[in-house]
Amino acid sequence: MSEVTVVRGGLVWTGSDAVPGDVVITDGVITSLTGDTPADVTRTIDAADSLVLPGLINSHVHPGGSPLLRGIAEDNPMPGPGALYHNTVDFRLITWEHLRPDEIESLVAWEAVQMLLGGATTIISEQVGDIDPWVSVASRLGFRTDVGRIYPYPPHIANGAEISGKSYDAVLEGMQAGFELFERFEGALDGRLTLHLAPHAPNTVPTQILIESAELARKRNARLHLHISQHPSENQTVRSRTGLSPVRYLDDIGFLGSDVLATHLTYTDARDWDVLARTGTNVVHCGSRKAREAVTSPFLELLDRGVNVCLATETYSHDLVDELKWSALLAKLRAARVDRPDAKDMIAAVTIAPALALGRSDLGVLRAGARGDVTVVGLDGPFNSPAFDAARNLVYYSRASNVRHSLVDGLPVVADGEVAGVDMAQLRHEVRAACRRVWQIANDLGHVEWRA
């Protein structure tokens, strides 16, 4: 017998409009938007006073970091021309060196909980270290994920004028380890798990390994995901090696294309943007994350050139609904115009744009035949109701606390604002203990001054 889920009584997002309707999902696939409900319904999801969206896609995260790093680097001076995370990279290393696998899984699960409460149903993860804890959490909590294991890690083992000898070998081993995951996890989690290759960035991965990465990924029709122009020192390194900007260098070696997801592009110019448009490279924009470094990244400049732009929360606050507002307002400030980007641009960047980047015509839209991935956001709170325009009230006035339900393949991942299948009190207890241990070790090693 078929399993039928009906999302009833909400405003359904068509991609350009919000119209009253019911979404019927049969055995994981959307079968109707017209209210033709089968006789036997397994579960009904109440979407009254809510906006029903295609399951949101968070296009770039590094699970495991956020609980440890939040509130540590903010307000401190930046480490020269580096990135915010350079202030906290020691915590990651201590985690992998000192914590037990169950402790790491707790950290990763706590972060997954945030991402799911933040509205995401698909999470594109650039995993730092072993991916097994993340896969285990995805299996338990039921979300969809596209995973790559970053190489090299830590990234600074292969930075500088030239990458050779031991550090070259380390990056190569990282690529091979990342590629072996394809065999190991083929078809895992009923198709909810897919894999990509995740070379870290053009300054930390040698040219030959970037080229081989592209060949390996393309052979398997998998995606390539990397950071580009994340901080000024990356640009300096690539320019000193090649005389080119990171974007033009990657174009030069044939790396860019519509199967590439490139994150940040903060320190880029109009020539770079034209290259991204010409090659069809997908860009992942992390507005609030970069704002923590007191900078903005191009967004409207890319949209106006026809670049496919996706949104992500990266390491810090994983509230993807809140991110819509942050990235919209920061882009308006950058462009000094109020009318663009607009609410529809923002919703596209967490639905249809990342689905396109992943090559998935069955995600990011609500239509018959698409996967039954749905995010239901209540427009009934004191901060976001009443709503003249559901899309604008979603983007400018909603946040994670308004996320009421989410479904993946028609099955509940978030129900009534709670992540299904998690003992929050127990998990919180485990995460606090694990973080205290890392902070204490960092303190003892003299890496940070931390008040216990």
């Binding site: 939040r70 923590r292 115009r337 109020v338 009443p386 604008r392 006035y397 946040r399 606390s401």
Partner: protein, 453 residues
């Protein structure tokens, strides 16, 4: 404790006192008859009300220092994504809908808008609301809310009422109404309600009425609250009137500025204005998040570093004070390309200590014995803000309104377990939604509101 006194205990929280350089401590906060009596570990006395603050941050009650109740439910999502009118502000695009709300809605309908807006303000973590009431005849609605819901308020009636087409007569009449309001209501509800004079701005109020406002405020010891350097249209009007002076210099020349003046925005300032404001000891209300909706940034770090007293306000839109602190901090950093200032501590100080200074109150803004028992308690136990390595940074950068657990004014609950007390929020919501929906339909029929699709 005396047998007849009323005692509230906030147990086990991390207390940030607001006293400079004092680190947060885990302790119990004891409030007796509305006044903070003690901050001590493991308070053993009896209490009439015990509030759990474990895994929570206990702050001096937050001040939302610039609000126009009734507007937000009506115009949220209307002006966003629209082009700004030339030299105008965001609100100019919504003026027709707001105006229609005042002429077409019944008093009961408008009351539901004001009440629903107030629910958001209190759910957003503020215990003191500084209100510039726009429109005629709504003051009793608001005063009743202050009495019933138990929050602290500075209330002013904005004059002139029509700020789009201001007239000198209306400005003068508005000042008289403001004085009458002060005579009747200042100090009401055990001094929870204070009245201030609220000339709208230096462009919409005549020179003469501004001078009269200044004299009256001094005579009666009232605060003055106005908009200042809000949009370019204002700057041009003042320049035309004053022979080329900017709004701040114009008010300085008039002798208007002083430690009893609270001025909102201060966006379009010129060289010397920061020194003018600092030396006069006037206060600037920073509405960073609100101005970001106009795709612009307003000075903030400049004021902090220039010695101006700066406080925070949410103005007409989202009344989430924690979100306002986060946006304010990050926009301030972006404006200067510098991550290290403003800090989380700057934001919390603006929302508490500085705001009490603007009100000229030495019994508010800090959690120390002898101060009023106004408290905001924020949970740091949620998935987005736990664990909290640095509680103040976790508050500002990772918390939001849904983390507001309790608030107290004079030791009495205003928000308990995230719910605003003494009001049926779902009933208010139902009535506000009906009123707003009716008005939007009417506005579309009259052609002042275009459907978005």
């Amino acid at each position: 404790m005396k047998g007849s006194s009323k005692v509230t205990v906030v147990r086990g929280g991390t207390i940030w006192s607001g006293v400079p350089r004092q680190a947060p401590v885990v302790a119990d906060l004891v409030i007796e008859d509305g006044i903070i009596a003690a901050i001590e570990p493991d308070f053993t006395g009896g209490a009439d009300l015990e509030l759990d603050a474990t895994s929570a941050l206990v702050l001096p009650g937050l001040f939302n220092s610039h609000l126009h109740p009734g507007g937000s439910p009506l115009i949220r999502g209307i002006a966003e994504d629209m082009e700004l009118p030339p030299n105008g502000a965001f609100f100019h695009n919504t003026a027709a809908v707001l105006g229609l709300g005042r002429t077409e809605l019944s008093l009961e309908e408008y009351q539901s808008l004001i009440e629903w807006d107030c629910v958001a303000m209190l759910a957003g973590g503020a215990t003191t609301l500084t209100v510039e009431l726009l429109g005629v005849g709504y003051e009793q609605i608001w005063i009743d809310l202050v009495g019933r819901l138990g929050f602290r308020c500075n209330l002013g009636l904005t004059y002139p009422h029509n700020i789009i087409k201001p007239t000198p007569e209306e400005a003068a009449a508005g000042l008289r109404d403001g004085i009458a309001l002060a005579d009747e209501h200042n100090g009401k509800f055990g001094d929870r309600l204070r009245v201030q004079l609220s000339p709208h701005g230096p462009d919409t109020v005549t020179d003469e009425v501004l001078r009269e406002t200044r004299r009256t405020a001094t005579e009666r010891g009232l605060n003055v609250h106005l908009h200042l350097a809000q949009h370019m249209g204002e700057v041009k009007t003042v320049q035309d009137r004053s022979g080329g002076l900017g709004p701040v210099a114009y008010l300085e020349r008039m002798g208007f500025l002083g430690h009893d003046v609270v001025a909102t925005h201060g966006t379009y300032i010129e060289s010397g204005d920061i020194a003018r404001l600092a030396s006069s000891r006037a206060t600037i209300v920073y509405c960073g998040y609100r101005k970001a909706k106009e795709a612009l940034m307003t000075p903030f770090t400049e004021y902090l570093e220039g010695g101006v007293n700066v406080v925070l306000g949410t103005d007409t839109f989202s009344h989430n004070m924690i979100e306002d602190m986060k946006f304010g901090a990050i926009l301030g950093k972006i404006r200067h390309g510098r991550i290290s200032r403003p800090t989380a501590l700057d934001m919390v100080t603006c929302a508490t200590v500085n705001a009490a200074r603007a009100m000229r109150r030495d019994d508010l803004g800090q959690l120390v014995p002898g101060h009023r028992g106004d408290v905001t308690i924020i949970s740091l136990a949620g998935p987005f803000n736990t664990p909290a390595a640095e509680p103040i940074k976790s508050l500002v950068y990772y918390s939001t309104a849904s983390d507001v657990r309790h608030t107290l004014v004079d030791g009495q609950p205003v928000v308990l377990d995230g719910k605003v007390c003494n009001i049926d929020a779902s009933d208010i919501q139902r009535r506000a939604t009906a009123a707003v929906t009716r008005l939007w339909e009417l506005a579309q029929d009259k052609g002042v509101l275009a459907p978005t699709w």
